[in-house]
Symmetry: C2
Subunit: 157 residues, 2 copies
């Protein structure tokens, strides 16, 4: 039996922006591999999709679809923060990078992070930042990142 990955290795695994129809292609199931991601109704999904879309290029969620299975196998997001420091500079914030457990080892994570960083750069950001576990430090170093500060969190729920 053919390796399930080989079916997509030959394809040009294109990174594209999230589409509304990706809900039915396993987008939420993919995010569930990252953290808690409860099911939402089609209406809730569409409302949130529209809210994010209103930001245009200031908030982009990208995905990679396995065109054979029709499933979303990688995703990530970036939003552009507008500041006053650094001559009214901009900073890209990368969030929610995830690659399907069955599709690892194909550099999909690197593709996603590269797409998001390129987007931030094209939007005029002077830097792009993200938070990750110590365990993912080496991966992001391979993507050209360096450790800088520490992340602090306050939970409300």
């Amino acid at each position: 039996m053919e390796n399930s990955n080989s079916s997509i290795e030959g394809n040009n695994l294109r990174v594209r922006k999230l589409e509304l129809s990706d809900k039915s292609k396993g987008f939420l199931e993919l995010l569930r591999q990252l953290t808690v991601c409860d099911s939402v109704s089609d209406k809730e999904f569409e409302d949130r999709f529209k809210e994010i879309s209103m930001y245009g290029d200031d908030h982009v969620i990208c995905v990679i679809e396995d065109e054979i299975s029709g499933k979303i196998i990688a995703s990530g997001s970036v939003f552009i923060e507008k500041k006053f420091i650094r001559k009214c500079g901009k900073v890209g914030h990368i969030e929610d990078v995830v690659v399907d457990a069955g599709s690892r080892g194909m550099q999909l994570g690197k593709k996603i992070v590269g797409f998001l960083a390129d987007h931030a750069r094209s939007m005029g950001c002077y830097k792009v930042i993200l938070d990750c576990s110590d365990g993912n430090k080496v991966f992001y170093e391979k993507c050209g990142f360096k450790k800088k500060e520490i992340q602090m969190v306050k939970y409300f729920v």
Copy 2:
């Protein structure tokens, strides 16, 4: 001679949203105590102010003004990121918290961070996050935060 701080200690040091006129009250000079913050023209400032204002409650910059000197002595910002995880949850990102060097020891930082965290909570965020140096960890712990992950950065310029 009276201590310069005592003039404002008696006042109710109110946290309020940034106003366009704060440029002439030393807002950029205050940010310069945080990081590189080159001068910008009134037009550039106004354009950026309007861009951020378009986000309404999704991107709030707050300040504390010393009403005696008419100077901005503390500031911070928070923007609300809309996600699909956690049942289309929201996360508040706190950035650029700074207190004037001559106005420290009056809990102004705590007031600013409290205002921003309260805003994120009122907007329905399930958590609020920020990045800081190891040296500021204890301050943020006093504000109710805990260390979670590490911050990675990629500079474009």
